[in-house]
């Protein structure tokens, strides 16, 4: 009874002009053109977007959860990267 799944595509939508595309979910489709059609039908039935990207899911490389500390904790001790690190006189502190 089962037929093999069509390839999976991740869907990204730009909701308004000036905003970045944002991941909204995935669709199965035979190819990229068909993925766009399916994404349109599934994710933009109510003016949710002005542009759609589809990307084959198997082409995405993701960071592993185990790498979380190595990748993301170092900036925590680099507080000098934040503007609040620099103490300025009140007269110029709006800078």
């Amino acid at each position: 009874m089962s037929t093999a799944d069509w390839p999976l595509f991740e869907v990204f939508i730009r909701s308004r002009h000036g905003l970045s595309h944002k991941h909204v979910g995935s669709v199965h489709a035979v190819d990229a053109t068909n993925a766009l059609e399916n994404a349109r039908e599934l994710y933009t039935r109510r003016n949710e977007g002005t542009s759609i990207w589809v990307v084959p899911s198997n082409t995405i490389t993701a960071s592993a959860p185990e790498q979380k500390d190595a990748l993301f904790t170092s900036p925590v001790d680099k507080i000098y990267r934040h503007p609040s690190f620099y103490e300025l006189p009140a007269a110029v502190d709006k800078m």
Binding site: M1, W6, G25, V30, D31, N34, R45, P65
Partner: protein
């Protein structure tokens, strides 16, 4: 609730001291309300429970198109027909969002569909009742979607990220469903003939109890609830959700000028909630087991649609493969 009896495979909730380091870290994240994402470590039973719950939920959305599809060609006006078609299309979309979320747990969609088609997977008992008159379209939108909303609003806070995000998306679309249903009933009650008003009351009489059953068994006969709450897959018990639904629905029932088929239904000043009568659990378990009025018909229709559509799926895939070969030949 669209997933009524989700097996966790767990007999008793484990004490934290019995857990290994990985599981303790996992539970700490659950406790601090951080979402679990697909690549994160999770207990096997958590993953399996989620697959069961999300796919049951997805199957319910998909099978749920049938009772309403039944009236699509007989809607009284073109406006009602368009509204109903839009709602049914949304439900199909909800099924897709949910299958998508389930797939992030490492199951294939064909596998999930197979489980539905072979009767291994369940869907909500409510969709095994027939829709006998046009007022049923109103009552389904108002009561069935209304009950689903109570469940789904809470599930936006479920601990698994993709499930929670699917719920947020679904909740944005549900309010239209409930309002269009209620408006159907209101129009019939305000402008209808006596016969049409009687149809409204008849629809409520038939769908009232099955709607209450959507939330699943009573808490004391729901052994999996404790574990699901501990994992924050569920955020409230079946009885809590059912009570919320009843409390918010009775005032709406009164605006319609209709009654519920429950002689025990009355406001309880002391508790601040409505008291209500005992659900016919024998009927509930019977429908769950596959012996409801429409179980066989619903499943047969779904299987038939899948099988009859096979050539379309195959043709589309063959076309795509040919196009890719052509494109590759051009490059070479």
């Amino acid at each position: 609730m669209y997933a009524q009896m989700v097996e966790t495979g767990v007999k008793t909730v484990k004490d934290r001291s019995e857990m290994g380091a990985e599981e303790q870290a996992f539970m700490a994240r659950i406790d601090e309300e951080s979402k679990i994402e697909p690549q994160d470590w999770m207990p096997d039973a958590y993953r399996k429970t989620l697959v069961r719950q999300i796919s049951q939920h997805a199957h319910s959305e998909i099978i749920g198109m049938q009772p309403e599809g039944n009236w699509l060609t007989r809607a009284p006006t073109i406006k009602r027909k368009l509204q109903l078609a839009a709602k049914i299309q949304d439900e199909c979309g909800h099924g897709q969002y949910l299958y998508s979320a389930a797939e992030t747990l490492g199951v294939g969609r064909d596998e999930l569909l197979d489980q539905l088609h072979t009767g291994k997977a369940k869907y909500s008992s409510i969709f095994n009742y027939p829709t006998l008159n046009w007022a049923d379209m109103g009552a389904v939108g108002w009561l069935v979607d209304g009950a689903a909303i109570v469940n789904q609003v809470i599930l936006q806070r479920t601990s698994y990220g993709p499930y929670s995000r699917a719920m947020v998306r679904i909740c944005k679309e549900e309010s239209f469903h409930q309002r269009q249903g209620y408006e159907i009933l209101l129009t019939m009650m305000e402008k209808g003939t006596q016969a049409q008003k009687d149809m409204v009351q008849d629809a409520i009489n038939r769908l009232w109890w099955p709607s209450l059953m959507m939330f699943g068994p009573n808490d004391d006969s729901s052994p999996n609830t404790a574990q699901s709450l501990e994992w924050k897959i569920k955020r409230k018990t079946n009885d809590e959700l059912r009570q919320m639904f009843i409390d918010q629905t009775i005032p709406q029932l009164e605006v319609l000028g209709c009654t519920a088929p429950d002689p025990d239904l009355k406001w309880n000043e002391a508790t601040g909630h409505y008291d209500f009568g005992e659900i016919n659990w024998e009927e509930f378990f019977n429908v769950i087991k596959g012996n409801g009025p429409c179980n066989k018909q619903r499943l047969a229709k779904k299987v038939n649609a899948h099988e009859q559509g096979a050539w379309v799926r195959e043709a589309a895939m063959a076309h795509a493969t040919k196009q890719q070969a052509k494109a590759a030949a051009k490059v070479a």
